[in-house]
Amino acid sequence: MSEANTNGSPNGGATATAEAPREKLNKKAITADHPTWCPGCGDFAVLASFYKVLEKRNLDHEKIVTLAGIGCSSRFPYFVNGHGAHFIHGRAVPLASGISLARPDLNVFLFGGDGDGFSIGGNHLNHGARKNINMVYFIMDNFVYGLTKKQTSPTSPIGFKSKTDPTGAIDMPVNPMKQLISAGASFIARTHATQVKHMMEMIERAMDHQGFSVIECLSECVEFYPDVFDPADPKKGGSFELIQEKKWDNTPEDELRHDVTDELAAYKLAQLPFPGVFGVFYQSDRPTKNALEKKWIENTREKLGNATDVEILQKTFDRMK
């Protein structure tokens, strides 16, 4: 997801880091506060997988940026030792977008919950997806508002009894996959907190993708909505059904497999009843806003030769005399 070169940033400022000796990134180095989550909370597994991926990828420590909105899941940055920010509820996508656009050298990771992402943050999610801004956005979906103690969330199923729906939720929930596909997210995956290997694979593929990469992870809130994801947990008698992706081996079996570049096919998968399927629903390599803005900058600066900022502004003023 990050780029080596940084011409996108004024005066290449972003590459001004001096080199001091460094050892391989290890778990201890990236561990911060001990997580405050409830024992058994699905979010622990997400944190563990994230640590593992960071170690495996051995990213430059100072180039790891973890961001979040507000919620139990959004406490994530406090548990990762790295540059980061704990922002406000529902607005972390534009925050991350600013960092991503100005600093292609960084690895921008965004974490949040279903309320943060699909309720108050829904519009930013859609426009971040549409503009295809380069980042990895991990949504820990527990079908409930955890931090505020059990209100109906946009993904709570009809019938769910919460503090704001004492007789059971009545509104049709958001379908995260449908929303992301129609909004234009260029990498869309779905996983489950109990499936750490799969989760890690999704995170790595999201990191390797250039663009707005979103992973929805069913992450159980043991305190306010226990057992809701058992139907997708083999250990609890459920079935964790994986999407079979096309191998392009033109075998007859391959006909039946899923083409991740086929938007309509992805939408069809999104129509499957709960718990649905897991894996990559959709992936497209349309240009990122990062690349498009960079191209505009390069074209513009080319015309200017290698004029300094002072010279450029002076020229402009000369025309105003």
Partner: protein, 530 residues
């Protein structure tokens, strides 16, 4: 067709004159756009032409009431809402601040004569945009709204030249969040808007105050409240800029006083935002935004700030040291002791991690407030214009600089012992104003906002609260028009200066509409279908 030195008034939305031809004074006014905005469309023959009529009425001080009568007659018989629309177009044109157009020629001549720095000519929003670039701002985000839009349009067009990006966001909540992302990434960023959009940024600006993130917020004020009078001038957002956030959320508030100052205030805002790691408001308004003025070309090599973020590795770093002013360091900076900082909207300890400690919340609250006290110590006390001591001190802020100073000149010519103080730093205020106050018998703020429930303008309210100085009163108006010199003198010295020539549209109900229901109601002519 137009004789040399003549004024060429053109629709900058549709015409692109050759500005190099220096024989004329060019006054570009986005006639189409302003008409669309004022009416919600150009409304056929009721629109642009009549907008221009209002514009000309203002420039040549023609008789407003008479022209309004003529318009009313011209469209008489038709649905009264048509008359209303025509009058709205006229009033929008009349309210449009073209500035001292007729003096431009004089200014151009001046260039030839003197050997001073050459002059450059532009409107306030353009000056603000280039001031931001000079201040080292390379990134920003916004959402369109009058009269802010042209700032973002200039930045969107210009920043790529400097390797920067300006993003049009999906809304103002997204815009301020993007800007905070840019600032967090190491590039002091700008966002901005007008009334409704600024209100939407309230929550995120509170985060900037709490997380101590540098940010510049431009509020190009217009007539309020709510959607209000989008194309008129008003100074009614001062209280919101200072007190708008929930909780005790200190922020800095500056106001530009002239078109030239729009350029320099941006540099001052950048300096403060960086040095004190804080959100800084720049207040401008409709009249500065669009008024075209010439000013000495800035000394760019001296002024321009290098935007490059400092990412030299640190041995160790505390984002929120209790005994120092926070300095934000961008991601990408190695911290050799391996302890990385977190910028947080939750109350936090010195490393940015959450705390529930009563003592820490008190200490951090004080830390955030005390940096404004430090700033106040370094703000110069502005000089008094006119009499350094005497009977009356006028205090102003923002775009009223010109008329207030002219009023002092005219007042002195007419025997008043008076002076004027104009504030650029509104929060925190410079220290030592009390020394100036004691030299005058009366202190009157002159403001384009409402007198409020207790009878004082927004700046007057702030000064009274700080100094408990009963001498402080205010002369305010909310007619959406810039001040006229005589209007100020008549308002500040009731009963005096009545003989002065010149039209003053709102004199009768200045300050209070109540007594003049019928007068005002006479303006309410859309009886058609309500």
């Amino acid at each position: 067709f137009l004789k040399e030195g003549g004024v060429l008034l053109y629709d900058s939305d549709n015409v692109e004159p050759n500005l190099d031809d220096k024989r004329f004074v060019y006054v570009g006014v986005p006639i189409t756009g302003l008409t669309v905005e004022a009416l919600g469309g150009t409304a056929k023959d009721k629109g642009k032409n009549i907008f221009v009529l209002g514009l000309i009425t203002k420039i040549f001080s023609l008789d407003v009431e008479k022209l309004k009568r003529i318009i009313t007659e011209k469209f008489a018989g038709k649905d009264e809402s048509i008359v209303n629309t025509a009058l709205m177009a006229f009033q929008a044109g009349y309210a449009y601040p073209v500035g001292k157009v007729l003096t431009h020629r004089y200014q151009f001549e001046k260039i030839e004569k003197t050997g001073e720095r050459p002059q450059i000519t532009m409107d306030g929003n353009t000056a603000l945009a280039f001031g931001l670039i000079a201040a080292g701002v390379r990134y920003g985000a916004g959402y369109p709204i009058t009269p802010w839009s042209s700032v973002m349009e200039v930045l969107r067009t210009q920043l790529p030249k400097y390797g920067g990006i300006f993003v049009q966001a999906e809304d103002e909540l997204g815009a301020v969040s993007l800007a905070l992302g840019f600032s967090f990434s190491g590039y002091l960023a700008v966002t901005g808007s007008a009334g409704p959009g600024i209100s939407l940024k309230t929550e995120a600006i509170g985060w900037a105050s709490m997380a101590e993130m540098p940010l510049i917020i431009c509020n190009i004020q217009r007539g309020g409240p709510s959607t209000g009078l989008p194309t008129n001038v008003e100074q009614s957002d001062l209280h919101q800029a200072i007190y708008g956030g929930h909780g005790d959320s200190p922020r800095v508030v500056l106001a530009a006083s002239t078109v030239e100052d729009c350029f320099y205030i941006a540099i001052e805002a950048g300096r403060i935002a960086r040095k004190y790691s804080t959100p800084v408001f720049i207040l401008s308004d409709t009249s500065l935004a669009t008024r075209i003025e010439a000013f000495d070309e800035p000394d760019l090599p001296k002024l321009m700030v290098d935007p490059k973020p400092d990412m030299t590795p640190r041995a160790t770093h505390k984002p929120y040291p209790l005994d120092q002013i926070t300095q934000h360091i961008p991601p990408g900076t190695r911290i050799l002791d391996g302890k990385y900082p977190l910028m947080s909207g939750l109350e936090h300890d010195e490393m940015g991690h959450p705390t529930g400690s009563p003592k820490l919340h008190m200490a951090m609250t004080a830390k955030r407030r005390n940096k404004l006290r430090k700033l106040a110590e370094e703000i110069p006390v502005p000089e008094v214009y006119g009499d350094p001591n005497g009977d009356t001190l006028l205090i102003g802020w923002g775009s009223t600089y010109g008329p207030i100073h002219d009023a002092v000149k005219l007042g002195q010519e007419n025997g008043e012992k008076m002076g004027a103080l104009h504030l650029r730093h509104l929060h925190p205020l410079p220290n030592g104003l009390e020394k100036i106050f004691k030299n005058f018998k009366r202190i009157v703020t002159v403001e384009m906002n409402d007198q409020g429930v207790y009878g004082f303008g927004q700046l007057a309210t702030i000064l009274r609260a700080r100094y408990c100085e009963p001498k402080i009163e205010s002369f305010t108006k909310t007619d959406g028009l810039t001040f006229r010199v005589k209007e100020i003198l008549q308002g500040v010295f009731p009963g005096k200066f009545v003989s002065l020539r010149g039209y003053s549209p709102n004199r009768p109900i200045a300050g209070n509409g109540e007594q003049d229901v019928n007068l005002a109601r006479a303006e309410s002519i859309s009886q058609g279908a309500g």
